[in-house]
């Protein structure tokens, strides 16, 4: 039995605890095994409300469905009776320019307490990630200078990125002989893995930043590939005479290294952050980062960029009749066909549950429609195999092209989504394209979306 003083003390403590939770600077959510929210604190609501498609926070998985379709699967497939399901899982939120105050990346940690309860911790890590990205760039730079010094090719490039002079280091690393002189240095890339415009982008970046570095698959003369790290830097003489490229000397140097032995580590980091767990395609975060960058670059050096958004038709019915594992098999199958239908330079990504997107650099409407149609026909003629059964399915696709980078990925995505909607409405198993909206209509649309 409590006397009055004790009871007043208890209720004071209760209130203080309540305020402690109200003010905790991270989002805390407790749910049942199906994600139904039992309790959450205000920061959780602050972070989740702008993401919730239906304006409700009754279920955590549903609130996060648009940005993390994998959560339900992650939790369901966690075998242990308790423990961490994910730790600092990154959720990439906004496609392009976010509204003011809106975080761009959330970190999610999920803890399974027992068969009935999950705890989630959410925090806004946008600023932290920006700092980390800068650090990673510096790391890559140091790696490039300090490691594997014996194993590199050093090549002079002219102002357009063509190989100026051959030397034995080129033969040692790539097997190419003196005949490579005069060829663009994109010959070290696999076919279709780089466009001429991309090469020019890299040269411009080298001019602006003093250097540019990237990693990826590279090609030897005999057709075999290795994992390479390539740095291009403008040569000092050229820097001393801006605007007057020295016609005798090289304008840039390219340092190409074989880092295949380090590839596993790099690749596993890349997969953890940038790959979709189910299909192995790029995830939403990787897609919007790469697409944003591509459109920014195409603003500097105008060229068309195409976007194809793809949606599996009647996917809910597939899930209902074959179960979620059957649905997953279809998504994996579709991912494989997409990789067949598009080029290596095209960014193929899963951006939602059954939603996919492909960004096609330096591509006009005819070529993009052709590629989308190729995929549509391929899918319609190739059923997925699951559990001994063939699951036939179709896709609808919307295609849009940005003549230059103006409007950003958000604008392009809206147009492609409208075309996709038209394809669905016209009966599915179709490809539709968006005619560029008149500027006035676009502004009105943006005003509506901003409200």
């Amino acid at each position: 039995m409590l006397d009055t003083a004790d009871s007043a003390g208890l209720s004071g403590e209760h209130e203080a605890l309540m305020q402690f939770l109200y003010l905790a600077p991270v989002g805390l959510v407790q749910t049942d095994a199906a994600g139904d929210v039992a309790m959450l604190n205000p920061i959780a609501a602050q972070l989740l409300m702008p993401l919730s498609l239906d304006g409700s926070l009754e279920n955590l998985f549903r609130a996060l469905e648009g940005v993390a379709p994998e959560l339900r699967h992650l939790c369901a497939s966690h075998g242990a009776p308790s423990g961490k399901i994910c730790d600092g899982h990154l959720l990439h939120l906004n496609a392009g320019k976010p509204p003011a105050r809106a975080p761009q990346v959330l970190s999610l940690t999920l803890l399974k307490l027992d068969g009935e309860r999950l705890m989630a911790v959410l925090s806004d890590v946008t600023e932290q990630l920006r700092r980390e990205r800068q650090l990673r760039r510096s790391d890559a730079w140091l790696n490039a200078i300090l490691t594997g010094i014996a194993d590199y090719a050093l090549v002079g490039l002219d102002a357009d990125g063509r190989i100026r002079d051959w030397n034995p280091s080129v033969a040692r690393l790539t097997g190419h002989g003196p005949e490579v002189a005069g060829q663009p240095c994109s010959i070290f890339h696999p076919r279709d893995a780089i466009t001429p415009e991309h090469l020019q982008d890299r040269l411009r970046e080298a001019d602006a930043d003093g250097w540019t570095l990237d990693e990826g698959r590279r090609l030897r003369a005999d057709g075999s590939t290795f994992w390479g790290s390539a740095m291009i830097a403008p040569l000092p003489d050229r820097a001393a005479l801006p605007g007057i490229p020295d016609s005798e000397g090289a304008a840039y140097c390219l340092i190409l290294r074989d880092i295949s032995d380090k590839r596993d580590a790099v690749e596993s980091r890349r997969r953890a952050h940038f790959a979709d767990y189910l299909t192995g395609l790029a995830n939403r975060r990787a897609f919007f980062e790469a697409a944003g960058l591509e459109l920014e670059r195409s603003l500097a050096a105008p060229r068309p960029t195409a976007l194809v958004v793809i949606d599996a038709d009647h996917f809910k019915t597939i899930n209902d009749s074959h179960g979620h594992p059957g649905g997953d098999a279809v998504l994996q199958h579709l991912a494989g066909l997409m990789l067949q239908a598009f080029r290596e330079v095209d960014m193929v990504a899963r951006i939602g549950g059954e939603e996919f997107a492909v960004l096609l650099p330096s591509t006009g409407i005819d070529q993009a429609l052709e590629a989308a149609e190729r995929l549509r026909a391929l899918v319609a003629g190739t059923p997925a195999l699951f559990d001994g059964a063939a699951i036939g399915y179709t896709i609808s696709a919307g295609v849009a092209v940005a003549p230059d980078g103006a409007g950003g990925i958000d604008g392009l995505m809206r147009q492609a989504d409208r075309a996709l909607y038209a394809a669905k409405r016209a009966g599915r198993n179709r490809v539709e394209y968006a005619r560029p909206a008149p500027a006035e209509a676009l502004r009105k649309l943006e005003a509506v979306n901003a409200r």
């Binding site: 209760h14 309540m18 305020q19 600077p25 205000p42 602050q46 409300m49 702008p50 009754e58 105050r101």
Partner: protein, 132 residues
């Protein structure tokens, strides 16, 4: 006009609330949070105090969007007050929202009120099923 005649949805509400005494605000059937130009909470009525489980003395004088209702510190709520202040315009908007009253997700309607020369700015909270 007596407080009992004031309803969540009525027109010209900011001016009416500016004229209410604390007792009159306490008699209202919806939550009233009034805050000043620096976003510090100046009014916190009995309905809201009861719903959130916080007594007014823990809340009054505290910055609203960081120390009292951080769940509203996003572009859906806080940003609209900022925008109205920056543009010198009237804000009167009602939105569906979810508050975390006593850590339970509760569907509410929020009415956001600000006037360029008003005494206070207001967030009003009505517990209800979302409007269709």
């Amino acid at each position: 006009m007596t407080a009992s005649q004031i309803t969540f949805g009525m027109a010209d509400l900011a001016a009416r609330l500016d004229a209410c005494s604390p007792d009159e605000l306490d008699a209202l059937e919806f939550g009233v949070i009034g805050f000043d130009a620096d976003t510090n909470v100046a009014l916190y009525n009995a309905f809201e105090s009861q719903a959130a489980g916080l007594s007014p003395q823990r809340v009054l004088g505290q910055p609203l969007f960081t120390n009292v209702a951080p769940c509203m510190n996003n572009f859906m709520v806080a940003q609209r007050f900022d925008d109205a202040r920056d543009d010198g315009t009237v804000l009167d908007a009602t939105i569906d929202y979810v508050l975390t009253l006593r850590m339970r997700p509760i569907k509410v309607a929020l009415r956001l009120l600000a006037r360029p020369n008003g005494r206070f700015r207001y967030v009003l909270v009505e517990r209800q099923a979302p409007r269709a």
